[in-house]
Symmetry: C2
């Protein structure tokens, strides 16, 4: 029996509910493939602020680093919204990404035939959308220095940040993107603002340099404003998109909303080595936290990404993916993806149904 150490970070709001369900699914899928998991649950986000006073306790980061993969629920909530920056749940998430050095954020957005009606886009525009955003996650304006508050040469108060990319940061995310595109349709679109920003000109230059290593992948470039339009106009034109941290934040959320079912969408954040971080892209939804209303499928699918990208356990991953599709085919729906004619269930019951299909 193979054995893996998994750090679970339930976090806030609906986080604990969806993590608990995903844990059961991981256990069953693993056992059917001869894999055993040792789970360690650690506090993070608002939960950690309440318990320990910081959004990412050292012990949580150490445990995460020493494990084989990390599964996160969701963080944040009204309660901590007014906190100072270093006491925000979000800051804990940024520290976790930096601490694990997970620079590559993979965010698939695909429209399942069963859920095409959930999209606000016309059926003919939405159906068949299947794209992957590869977002740089540990650089750019999120982490660039100098940053802060001060005064300019006229004595005026200012707030400022630095968008900066070093060659190695672009090169490594570009390679991940080319590898990803190669395994998909072989089309990669790099999104930047190279008509205005030097950081983007440099981004484009490096992406083009790395492209020489992947002659089989077709590389195109698009300005970020145009990409934001094209995602609405014709999302099917995209396969793999690679972009910087802030543009990736915006475009991956836009892309996920285009599917109409963000309660379904997982993500993986990977580094050069060391454990990956896997999490649903939805937030902590504090308004429905603890009410057994959350859709656990995004977290279950994040567990599948954990198996595939984090542990290389492709069979167990596919078992979970198929189980989710089967559960949808059997008509089970949480409130966020419910449509007439289907069976409305809560978070736990959805988990039970997926277990039946595993």
């Amino acid at each position: 029996v193979k054995s893996y150490n998994i750090t679970l970070l339930p976090g806030d709001g609906i986080g604990p509910e969806v993590i608990s369900v995903a844990k059961n699914v991981l256990n069953l899928a693993g056992s059917l493939e001869g894999i055993e998991f040792k789970f360690k649950e650690m506090p993070m986000g608002g939960a950690a602020l309440d318990l320990i006073g910081v959004p990412l306790p050292e012990e949580t980061l150490t445990t995460a680093k020493q494990s084989d993969a990390v599964l996160l629920g969701a963080i944040g909530g009204y309660k901590w919204d007014k906190n100072e920056k270093h006491l925000k749940p979000e800051t804990g998430l940024l520290q976790l990404r930096e601490g694990l050095q997970v620079f590559a954020n993979l965010r698939p957005a695909s429209v399942l035939p069963q859920l095409v009606d959930a999209s606000t886009l016309k059926k003919e525009v939405a159906e068949g959308v299947d794209l992957m955003v590869v977002r740089e996650l540990t650089g750019g304006i999120y982490f660039g220095k100098p940053r802060g508050f001060g005064t300019n040469e006229n004595g005026e108060e200012i707030g400022f940040n630095t968008e900066v990319y070093a060659a190695y940061e672009i090169d490594r995310i570009a390679r991940i993107a080319f590898e990803t595109a190669r395994k998909r349709s072989g089309k990669l679109c790099s999104v930047d603002k190279a008509n205005v920003l030097e950081a983007s000109m440099f981004w484009r230059e490096r992406v083009i340099a790395i492209a020489a290593e992947y002659p089989d992948v077709e590389l195109t470039h698009m300005y970020v404003d145009n990409a934001a339009m094209q995602l609405v106009r014709n999302p099917k034109q995209f396969d793999t998109i690679v972009t910087n941290n802030i543009f990736g934040d915006i475009l991956s959320d836009e892309a996920s909303m285009i599917t109409g079912s963000i309660g379904m969408l997982p993500s993986a954040s990977l580094g050069e080595s060391g454990p990956g971080l896997f999490e649903p892209i939805h937030g902590s939804a504090p308004d429905i936290g603890g009410q057994d209303k959350a859709n656990p499928l995004a977290t279950i699918l994040s567990a599948a990404m954990l198996l595939k990208y984090g542990l290389g356990e492709v069979k167990a991953a596919e078992r979970i993916e198929l189980a989710v599709l089967d559960t949808l085919n059997r008509g089970f729906r949480t409130g966020d993806i419910y449509s007439v004619g289907n069976k409305l269930v809560g978070c736990k019951e959805m988990g039970e149904q997926v277990l039946k299909s595993v």
Copy 2:
């Protein structure tokens, strides 16, 4: 007879065609309201590069500054795409904005009942959308210093830019946004990334400070990633949006595509005093330039914004707006907004029809 000096900047691609049509419409609407225009046509963008070697000749900027308002067609094209930064048509546009100090970019995006089918969004999501993006246009990461290329402390090559806002820059755009919201539905949404960026925290702080001057306007805040989602999920929730230069670039393009008819959308860029800059939001469309296929309505509506926001000539502006609606009601459509049952016309013919309705 009142008389105004208007600088026309036809620019590249379809620019000259749409400007020529808009000029005729301005002339007629003006003459019916006792207004006379003196037009001066100046080179700008690729046209200026070919003629003079720079994207914004000094004489063009001087003429623009000395006039009462500036109407721009569109700039850019494949021919100049590989130019160095200071020789890009886009650089000329940024220099023009900076030179005229037009810090407030107003970009309306509304779905006309006649054109609701042009949206890729479902009818019930698209119909009734009527929002205004107020984008800061002469600050932030577009103009922030330091910027450029260099090496970091490890000797690694880097590209970098600075996102920076001074209090006065935020205050003045916030005031324009509050005024705009007040004249519309009284709802203003400020978009930032204050959970991560100091520049955004400062932005939010200043917007809240200015809000005290506008107790009748309801102010909300939204993170930019969420805004990109909400524009797809339910664009009708927005009335006036205010945001920084780069977020405004992305979100206003996304919002315009949601209407499905970017060939229809005008924009106004205004300063504290001095002439405003008015332009369609669509690009130069070099692939159809000179073929009499362009939709001139966005430029015609930009001329209406010029009259309303630039010259305070509200009557003449409304004359043009009504003429555009009437022309649509009579079934005239250029290719980009054509649907079965309507009359397909070219750029010139569309202009003739609008003249009939003025």
